[in-house]
């Protein structure tokens, strides 16, 4: 098997060049998809039978919740790559993804609470999904706090990788135990209305805004990673040249 | 980045004194050699094979005494040595007592180490050099806190080990009076300038 592509990813310079080429495309895709998906969803999609217009928050809530979970998965994969193949770029990805994931988690919790008030009559209930998301937020906080606490950059990245992996092993266990706990304490009074019953002009904008969120996430992650790569490789000659070029362009 | 462009080969019978000002990376170099740290770039070979591939081989051949030597204040000198030996190469109680006597601690076998002076605690750690030690010794500041006589004894012991075909890598600020034939010095401070 040809592994050269894999090793190329280990080179910060190669990553910086390639990501620089993709970034405009991703950014444009994110803006277009988000604009179409959100405008369609928030303004033009038909109102829901029971929830009327309040359901429209799912066009923000659902993509954010999706992304918050995918982001932890990405961090776990980056953790494996970093620990097994000692690839520096995976470290960078892991640490830079954590704050974005935490924000998305926060957005999904807040939007869920706003939706909960008209639907359930309360901002917060100890529902299994809500509780799992809250715990996920705490897991993100843990990774961010550990990364900030360790001053040595390499050690911080490796420690975060270990923690993200331990967290990833635990997430399914936490999820199942929370569901078990929820059924134990209260019968499932509230369920999110079935997605299958949604009509095409409701779920199509949802799909588009989910894709838009993914592109947005990728754009922000790449931008953060590029900045971090410049910071880490600040002694390398190509970085000095690049920084000179960027600052020259601004003058 | 502490040092770059360092190329070094060590053979049996040699003693390498790593010198240099504070912060020049003496301890880091030693920790890299022991496998406690991983180099950012470059590699370390043991008999031609990468160190990371043969941790067991290194563990069997190497004795590491760091600045903090792994001596527990709550345990007695004898218990400390017994555990460290069990961890690396098992030794009998008589051997341990003989080793403690060799570093001038006869009569202190049953005393908890926190009641010993800093120099005596250092001697407890150094007693491992008398307990059927492996060929490669890596010692970080072994002379710290030792008195004049202790320093002289240790210097002689290190030189004897090298002359018998062992290999010693150590850091110290102190200039050695008793040098073996294979003595070399590596000054990390000069290299940087």
């Amino acid at each position: 098997m040809n592994w050269t592509w894999f090793h190329k990813w280990g080179s910060p310079k190669w990553f910086y060049e390639m990501s620089g080429r993709w970034l405009p495309w991703l950014g444009v895709a994110a803006i277009l998809l988000l604009a179409v998906g959100l405008a369609w969803g928030l303004a033009f999609a038909p109102p829901e039978k029971y929830q009327l217009d309040s359901y429209r928050i799912i066009y923000i809530h659902v993509p954010a919740a999706f992304l918050a979970q995918s982001c932890y998965l990405l961090m776990a994969i980056a953790g494996v790559v970093s620990l097994v193949w000692k690839m520096k770029l995976a470290d960078v990805a892991l640490q830079q993804a954590a704050p974005i994931g935490a924000w998305l988690c926060f957005v999904s919790l807040v939007s869920g609470a706003i939706w909960g008030k008209p639907t359930w009559g309360t901002y917060w209930i100890w529902d299994a999904r809500l509780t799992s998301m809250l715990i996920l937020l705490f897991l993100y906080f843990g990774v961010i706090a550990l990364g900030n606490a360790i001053s040595n950059r390499d050690s911080a990245a490796k420690a975060c990788a270990v923690l993200a992996l331990v967290g990833a092993v635990n997430i399914p266990i936490i999820k199942y135990s929370v569901e078990f706990w929820n059924t134990l304490h209260q019968p499932a009074t509230f369920t999110v209305t079935g997605k299958a019953s949604m009509s095409a002009d409701m779920w199509l904008p949802l799909l588009i805004s989910v894709l838009g969120f993914y592109c947005f996430f990728a754009t922000v992650l790449l931008m953060r990673m590029r900045l971090e790569v410049l910071r880490r490789e600040s002694r390398a000659s190509w970085v000095k040249a690049e920084v000179a070029r960027l600052s020259g362009g601004n003058r | 980045m502490l040092f770059e462009g360092l190329d070094l080969q060590l053979c049996a019978g040699e003693m390498l004194q790593v010198a240099g000002p504070n912060g020049s990376g003496k301890t880091s170099l030693l920790r890299l050699l022991c496998g406690l740290m991983q180099p950012t770039s470059g590699e370390i070979l043991l008999q031609g094979v990468a160190l990371t591939r043969q941790r067991d081989e290194l563990a069997r051949r190497m004795l590491w005494i760091g600045h903090a030597a792994g001596i527990k204040g709550l345990l007695t000198a004898e218990e400390n040595l017994a555990w460290l030996c069990a961890l690396h190469r098992p030794a009998s109680l008589e051997d341990i007592r003989a080793a403690l006597a060799a570093v001038g601690l006869r009569g202190f076998e049953d005393v908890p180490c926190h009641t010993l002076s800093a120099g005596q605690q250092r001697r407890v750690a150094l007693a491992r050099l008398h307990l059927d030690p492996p060929p490669l010794w890596i010692l970080d500041e072994p002379f710290t806190a030792l008195d004049k006589q202790g320093v002289a004894e240790l210097e002689r012991h290190l030189a004897d080990h090298c002359e018998a075909g062992g290999l010693v890598v150590l850091t110290t600020h102190h200039s050695l009076a008793h040098l073996p034939a294979g003595y070399r010095e590596l000054d990390l401070g000069q290299r940087r300038a």
Binding site: L83, A149, S155, L163, V166 | A68, G70, E79
Partner: protein, 223 residues
């Protein structure tokens, strides 16, 4: 290899018993926290009885967590951990022995103390066996997971609060299963299901956590 395991247990036992106050601290903490609750929620016995599964488990969880903060600190500072890393023995085995020793002398004491506090909270006597079994199975998981956090934060000057932040979310399944078992037995239902789940968590933690602990310690030492 198993010889080193036993010798390490003996060494840890010696160290712990030469400073017995440290063994007593988590136990006293456990008892004090339990005593705080009746003062906070009122002495009404029915309410305390219903809350007791949660109170006992939360207090036990915090006591274990606090006792773990210093688990590797002295070994880290005096260079013992470096000796473990450069030894020919697998680090994961050595840390497992360390955690087992810690659990035997502090976790087990906590388990043994718990029936007394449970009865003070008004938990019926027929629930005590379930409490004991759930704590017996659950506290090793708490110790092992907490040791992962302790290993990652051992090089930090103030790791205590960070350790709690890292580890408490991971304790949730144990908390849910432990209190679930107790609730069930309080309502006269069988608790075997929760206890078996807890046992599988214990098995999982014993097999996987030592590797994570060893990885964490190597990172902390290599810094």
């Amino acid at each position: 290899m198993s010889n080193v395991f036993t010798l390490l247990l003996v060494r840890e036992a010696r160290l712990l018993f030469r400073r017995p106050a440290e063994l007593a601290n988590p136990l006293v903490f456990f008892a004090v926290v339990i005593a705080l609750f009746p003062l906070a929620v009122g002495p009404e016995s029915q309410q305390l009885r219903n809350l007791s599964p949660g109170l006992l488990w939360v207090a036990a969880l915090l006591a274990v967590l606090l006792s773990l903060d210093g688990l590797f600190r002295s070994d880290f500072e005096d260079g013992s951990l470096e000796q473990w890393v450069v030894s020919p023995h697998p680090l994961s085995l050595l840390v497992l022995a360390k955690v087992v020793a810690h659990w035997l002398f502090s976790g087990l004491a906590l388990v043994l103390l718990s029936p007394l506090l449970a009865l003070m909270l008004g938990l019926p006597a027929h629930c005590v066996p379930v409490l004991l079994v759930s704590l017996l199975l659950g506290t090793p998981v708490l110790s092992l997971l907490g040791a992962v956090g302790a290993a990652l934060t051992v090089g930090l000057k103030r790791g205590g609060l960070l350790l709690a932040l890292l580890i408490l979310p991971l304790y949730i399944p144990v908390l849910i299963l432990g209190t679930g078992a107790l609730q069930a037995s309080l309502q006269g239902l069988p608790a075997a299901g929760q206890l078996l789940w807890m046992a599988s968590l214990t098995a999982l933690a014993v097999t996987l956590a030592p590797f994570a602990i060893a990885a964490g310690l190597k990172i902390s030492i290599g810094e």
